[in-house]
């Protein structure tokens, strides 16, 4: 077995360099109301216009008045991404009747390989209502830049891998990043936390 440090060193040198898109998300305040809740200063999202899995324009207007669960990943990630998507599919099935304005969004951090068609068959495999977005991490104010994290190979040759956020981000109807749910994910916990967060935010408004 090759020690992980050696692998990482080889990876880092052979890849040239990684581009870090880690943004302000890490420093957001959290408190005791609910674990992972960003309060009192949740980040207000800026316009991020992109395209969805049907090739339609998707921006702030599409998240307004909705509770959005956002996960960053890529379709060539066969382990952790489908695990999270399956948990979200179960979560969604269990709350969609009670909360009509909930939506689940998968943002690809690998838009070069994940074209609209790939994205569409990927998200609908988990749930026909799921939304897939082209993350275009390079674009100013993309969701990846505003709330997610992605590290990728600059050369993008062969079967390259992308490191990305493992958390599920929660956006409230006022388009504010109100919470980050950390892995390991399970639907029961997500539902419990969501109800807590929603109750808290509803009381505030």
């Amino acid at each position: 077995m090759i020690p992980s440090m050696v692998v990482l060193a080889i990876l880092a040198t052979s890849a040239g360099f990684y581009i870090s898109l880690k943004q302000s998300q890490t420093k957001l305040e959290q408190n005791n109301i609910a674990e992972g809740l960003f309060w009192p200063n949740p980040k207000q999202l800026l316009e991020f216009n992109t395209t969805d899995n049907n090739g339609e324009l998707f921006g702030l207007k599409q998240i307004e008045e909705k509770w959005s669960f956002i996960f960053f990943g890529y379709t060539n990630c066969p382990d952790i991404c489908p695990i999270t998507m399956s948990v979200m599919a179960d979560t969604y099935k269990r709350i969609k009747n009670e909360y009509k304005n909930v939506q689940v969004i998968f943002v690809t951090v690998d838009p070069e390989r994940d074209d609209t068609e790939k994205l569409n068959s990927y998200v609908s495999f988990f749930d026909s209502q799921f939304i897939g977005l082209n993350g275009s991490p390079q674009i100013k104010n993309s969701l990846t830049k505003q709330i997610g994290v992605a590290f990728y190979h600059d050369d993008k040759k062969g079967n390259y891998l992308v490191d990305h956020s493992a958390s599920i981000f929660v956006i409230d109807p006022k388009m504010r990043l109100v919470s980050k749910l950390s892995p390991p994910h399970n639907s029961e916990e997500i539902i419990k936390k969501f109800k807590k967060i929603k109750r808290f935010i509803d009381e505030k408004s």
């Binding site: 077995m1 090759i2 992980s4 692998v7 990482l8 990876l11 990943g73 379709t75 060539n76 990630c77 066969p78 382990d79 952790i80 489908p82 695990i83 399956s86 948990v87 179960d90 390989r113 068609e117 790939k118 068959s121 990927y122 609908s124 495999f125 994290v149 590290f151 079967n159 891998l161 490191d163 990305h164 956020s165 493992a166 958390s167 980050k180 950390s182 892995p183 390991p184 994910h185 399970n186 639907s187």
Partner: protein, 154 residues
């Protein structure tokens, strides 16, 4: 005609006996080999299994191949500071008298570029090569992910 079927029977019988004894003395056992069902146009699939080393010496899994995939790699998913990444291993040692379990969110096999869609009922054959020279051909089952799998829980 009778003679031919007798010879066939003998051949079959011996190959059967041979298989059984090979199984009995096998230093390495692979169980529960499964591929997670994925979207039909997926370029990368994932497989999980348990590798058991019955011998008193360490044995490494050195290579995995299949006619149905362009390449197969050993990976491990690592989540650190909320960032998910995959680490690649060129070989994986199975310690003597113990098992290594490949599970969702942990060690896994990355199956690149399936030559045909893998659906429930498909049974792609994988070839595992170990450091002691042994080779194991095994059919993988395509299964739906079970999100209640213990590895996803706290």
């Amino acid at each position: 005609m009778k003679k031919v079927s007798f010879i066939l029977f003998i051949l079959f019988f011996f190959s059967y006996i041979n298989n059984i004894s090979a199984e009995d003395h096998s230093k390495i056992e692979i169980t529960n080999l499964w591929i997670s069902e994925a979207p039909k146009n997926a370029s990368v699939l994932v497989a999980y299994a348990t590798f058991k080393n019955n011998s008193t010496l360490p044995i490494s899994l050195n290579n995995i191949s299949s006619l149905l995939f362009s390449s197969i790699e050993i990976h491990k998913t690592i989540i650190k500071d909320d960032i998910a990444s995959m680490e690649r291993f060129s070989t994986l040692e199975i310690p003597p008298k113990s098992s290594v379990e490949f599970l969702p969110g942990d060690y896994h096999l990355m199956l690149f570029n399936p030559k045909k869609p893998m659906i429930i009922g498909s049974a792609p054959e994988l070839l595992f090569t170990f450091s002691d020279g042994s080779k194991i051909y095994l059919e993988a089952k395509i299964k739906k992910r079970d999100i209640n799998n213990k590895s996803h829980h706290h």
